[in-house]
């Protein structure tokens, strides 16, 4: 936050200072998060769930107060490390990528602001503070997407992103307010009376909010709606693909690692709230989530996964394919959370962050190499020109598809599939997820074949990106492979860490019959997808002019997929149309109704003025003037008496004397 503030003040030319400042501050925060992680580890080693909170009163009105605060617990620690580490790599990468851009400092200012806000979301203890950082994240995503504001498409995309996320945030805010009104506090954990602690949860559970949902469930769903907006789940995902307009590091940062993860993190954070509804309730318990809220989350997640995967298949823009794959992976995470609880979902989030970041940065270096060319049909044969990028990109692709054993993607996706399998209530999501995995494998191979295999279809020869860009790729590739180990069923370190249990190494869980079957099916699915993809695009590299191979075979399916299943159009038709119509209605009302009222009032006043004038003329003036005239005449009469003729006075005097005398005598007559 501080870094972004300072960079904002810097002028354009201080490029060096801006970048070093941003990277320095993020590096520093990475260091801090390591320390925190170590601290939590130590705590965890003693076998207790570490949760330290710091909270202070921010607003005091009346006797109720709004408190803000920070919390450090395993969930937060993991996210801290992941966000700052990935962020740091992306910062370094973007130094190279944005080298020739003139608003370099401004870019880094937004980046550091984004990172600061993201870290704020992760460690905040109060729902309100979380919401504030959430809003800043939304803002920075708008700024970064619309970074090249000259391009109208970028500006439109930024606006679109902002509005759709904002749409989700409305529900999020409603949830906050409702929670605040019920529990009286927004702090998650506050020595027992925090909103997520059993005491207030018990209160929430008892209230019924209709539709069979308990208050807790309802609030959970509202907050989940916020997450849907931010993470681009099914109804509100339209903004995410368009967000590719921004520079690649941005897309990487936003759509791979952090921002989208924020949604999932939020659901994870308020998981106890959502799970409160479930009859068999145990915190962080494995697949016992049968509360209504969680089922909803699961269904949304699964639907998004399949839906996005379908669209990804028919995309030609390299970044757009990755965007849709992110959406579907998020669907996976949501489903994981819904089914398997916090640990399963979070593990997939961590692994996905690394290899998706890798893929995006790889795409970035490809685009950089191909002189800003983004359409995969005009690339091909980059295996030769950009060998390092190709290798790292291939590793990332395999991790994403969930290539068995070696790649982290496999283990985290399996965890989700396992949870889906075991969930007692609903069977549907499992099959959807499996189908999704197939599709993922398919479109990733299609992309790799288009980009790296075959021959160069672009106008100018591509060249390898400089060291500063390829180094992060290599690091990320390493993690994409290594990270799987911490979450394997054999040694579920990550899950234990999150739940605060001791992680014991047990091979037998691996060879447990059910799990083996699951591993076999998923690997089968992956191989199926890869083969399918290779067969279509592998051998004969597609000609630029020819339509896509799949397109030839299944044109009726291809067209809608390419057009993103007309979701935008659908929205266009419904929501926008609705707004337009509503605008017209409002205008009509405004002009007719209010105008009418104003006219009426005007008419009344005119009438009143008229009345006043009449009143004034014949009453006030008339009356007043008449009396004045009478007075003056009377005055005139009197004045004539004072005529100055002395003898008049004498006469009056005499008459008066006579009159008095007469009266005197008359009255005193005996």
């Amino acid at each position: 936050m501080v870094a972004s503030g300072i960079i904002a003040l810097l002028k354009q030319p201080q490029r060096k200072l801006a970048s070093t400042l941003a990277i320095g501050s993020l590096g520093f925060s990475l260091l801090l998060s390591f320390i925190a992680f170590a601290h939590v580890l130590r705590g965890w080693a003693h076998g207790s769930v570490v949760r330290e909170t710091v909270s202070f009163t921010w607003l005091q009105f009346g006797h109720s107060a709004v408190d803000l605060g920070w919390v450090l617990d395993p969930l937060a620690a993991v996210m801290l490390v992941m966000v700052s580490f990935v962020g740091l790599l992306i910062f370094i990468y973007s130094v190279g990528y944005m080298a020739h851009d003139e608003n370099f400092t401004r870019f880094f200012c937004f980046l550091s602001l984004f990172a600061g806000a993201m870290l704020g979301v992760v460690i905040s203890n109060s729902l309100l503070l979380l919401f504030m950082c959430w809003e800043i994240v939304g803002l920075t995503s708008y700024l970064l997407i619309g970074f090249w504001y000259q391009k109208p498409a970028a500006a439109a995309a930024a606006k679109k992103a902002f509005i759709t996320t904002r749409f989700g945030d409305i529900f999020f805010f409603l949830g906050i307010v409702w929670l605040f009104s019920q529990t009286g506090t927004l702090l998650f954990y506050n020595h027992g009376i925090g909103s997520l602690e059993p005491l207030s949860l018990a209160v929430l559970v008892t209230q019924h909010a209709g539709l069979g949902l308990s208050a807790a469930g309802a609030i959970g769903l509202l907050i989940f709606a916020g997450a849907v907006g931010k993470s681009g789940q099914l109804p509100l995902h339209v903004w995410l693909p368009d967000a590719m307009e921004g520079p690649t590091p941005v897309s990487a940062l936003i759509h791979a690692a952090t921002m989208v993860a924020a949604g999932v993190f939020l659901v994870a954070r308020v998981y106890p709230l959502m799970a409160a509804g479930a009859p068999i309730m145990s915190i962080g318990a494995q697949p016992g989530g049968t509360s209504v809220a969680l089922t909803v989350v699961t269904w949304v997640g699964a639907a998004t996964a399949v839906f996005a995967a379908l669209i990804a298949v028919a995309q030609n823009d390299i970044k757009r394919i990755l965007a849709y794959s992110t959406v579907s992976q998020l669907g996976y995470m949501m489903a994981g959370l819904g089914l398997g609880g916090v640990a399963v979902g979070m593990f997939h989030l961590i692994t996905h962050a690394f290899f998706k970041a890798l893929l995006f940065l790889g795409a970035g270096s490809v685009i950089h190499g191909c002189h800003e060319e983004q359409d995969i049909r005009r690339m091909g044969g980059l295996k030769v020109d950009m060998p390092l990028t190709f290798i790292t990109y291939a590793i990332g692709m395999l991790a994403l598809c969930g290539f068995p054993i070696f790649f982290s993607g496999f283990w985290s996706k399996d965890g989700i599939l396992e949870a889906a399998q075991h969930s007692s209530v609903i069977k549907g999501p499992f099959y959807l997820l499996v189908f999704g995995a197939l599709l993922t494998a398919f479109y990733m191979t299609r992309q790799v074949c288009y980009v790296f295999l075959g021959y160069w279809r672009g106008p100018k020869p591509a060249y390898e990106s400089p060291m500063v860009m390829t180094l992060p790729l290599v690091i990320l590739a390493f993690f994409a492979m290594a990270l799987g180990l911490i979450g394997t069923p054999a040694w579920p370190w990550f899950h234990a860490f999150l739940e605060g249990r001791a992680a014991e190494f047990s091979v037998h869980s691996l060879i447990e019959p059910g799990f083996l079957l699951l591993m076999a099916t998923s690997s089968l699915v992956v191989f199926l997808g890869l083969g399918f993809g290779w067969r279509l695009y592998g051998e004969k590299s597609p000609k630029p002019e020819q339509p896509d191979a799949l397109e030839k075979s299944v044109p009726w399916l291809w067209a809608p997929l390419r057009d993103r299943l007309y979701v935008d159009e659908f929205y266009g038709v419904t929501v926008i149309a609705f707004y337009a119509w509503w605008g017209r209605v409002a205008d009509w009302i405004d002009r007719r109704v209010w105008g009418g009222i104003v006219a009426l009032v005007a008419w009344i006043f005119a009438l009143w003025a008229q009345l006043n004038r009449l009143l004034d003329i014949n009453w006030v003036d008339g009356g007043f003037d008449k009396t004045c005239e009478e007075l003056s005449e009377g005055g005139g009469l009197l004045a004539s008496l004072q005529s100055g003729r002395v003898q008049n006075y004498l006469r009056i005097l005499a008459v008066a004397v006579v009159a008095l005398a007469v009266i005197l005598f008359w009255s005193s007559r005996p």
């Binding site: 003898q647 006469r651 005499a654 008459v655 004397v657 006579v658 005398a661 007469v662 005598f665």
Partner: protein
């Protein structure tokens, strides 16, 4: 005594009437002198010697002359062009008559109540002198002051202002 009284009364009243009715202003002035003389004699008739002589000295000697002078100075002696009496003379007459009626009635009504005393009071100038400086010393001083003031005032009022520069 009544005879003399009647004569004198007639004389005075004739003088008064003449003053009011005569056209020539100077004639009126003279008529008024006659009236004053008549009154002075009435005073003598009432054995108020000093008052009578004072009346003669003051009124006939000074006031009459003053009136005559005033008439001359204001060119009253020529015949006034548009009539002697003011336009509403009749009203004046009526009022005068009314006043006389009231006074007369008052006199007749009350005269019986006043105790009559016919003894001739012997008044010498010495008594008057003593009274003047004894009981009436204050009025005397005040009248003295008044007369001085009046003289000065009259002079100033009637003084011919120096020609104001045109």
């Amino acid at each position: 005594m009544n005879a003399v009284f009647y004569i004198l009364a007639a004389l005075t009243l004739a003088g008064g009437l003449a003053t009011v009715l005569l056209k020539q202003l100077v004639h009126c002035a003279l008529a008024v002198t006659v009236a004053f003389a008549g009154l002075a004699l009435l005073f003598l008739q009432l054995d108020a010697q000093f008052a009578g002589f004072a009346q003669i000295l003051v009124y006939i000697g000074a006031v009459a002359i003053l009136i005559v002078f005033a008439i001359l100075l204001t060119r009253g002696s020529e015949l006034p062009k548009d009539g002697v009496f003011s336009k509403t003379w009749f009203l004046g007459l009526v009022i005068a008559a009314a006043v006389f009626a009231v006074l007369g009635w008052a006199v007749l009504a009350s005269v019986s109540a006043v105790p009559q005393q016919n003894a001739v009071p012997s008044v010498t100038v010495r008594d008057i002198g003593i009274a003047l400086v004894g009981r009436y010393v204050l009025p005397l001083e005040i009248v003295a002051l008044l007369l001085t003031a009046a003289t000065i005032g009259a002079v100033i009022v009637a003084m011919h202002e120096k020609e104001r520069p045109r």
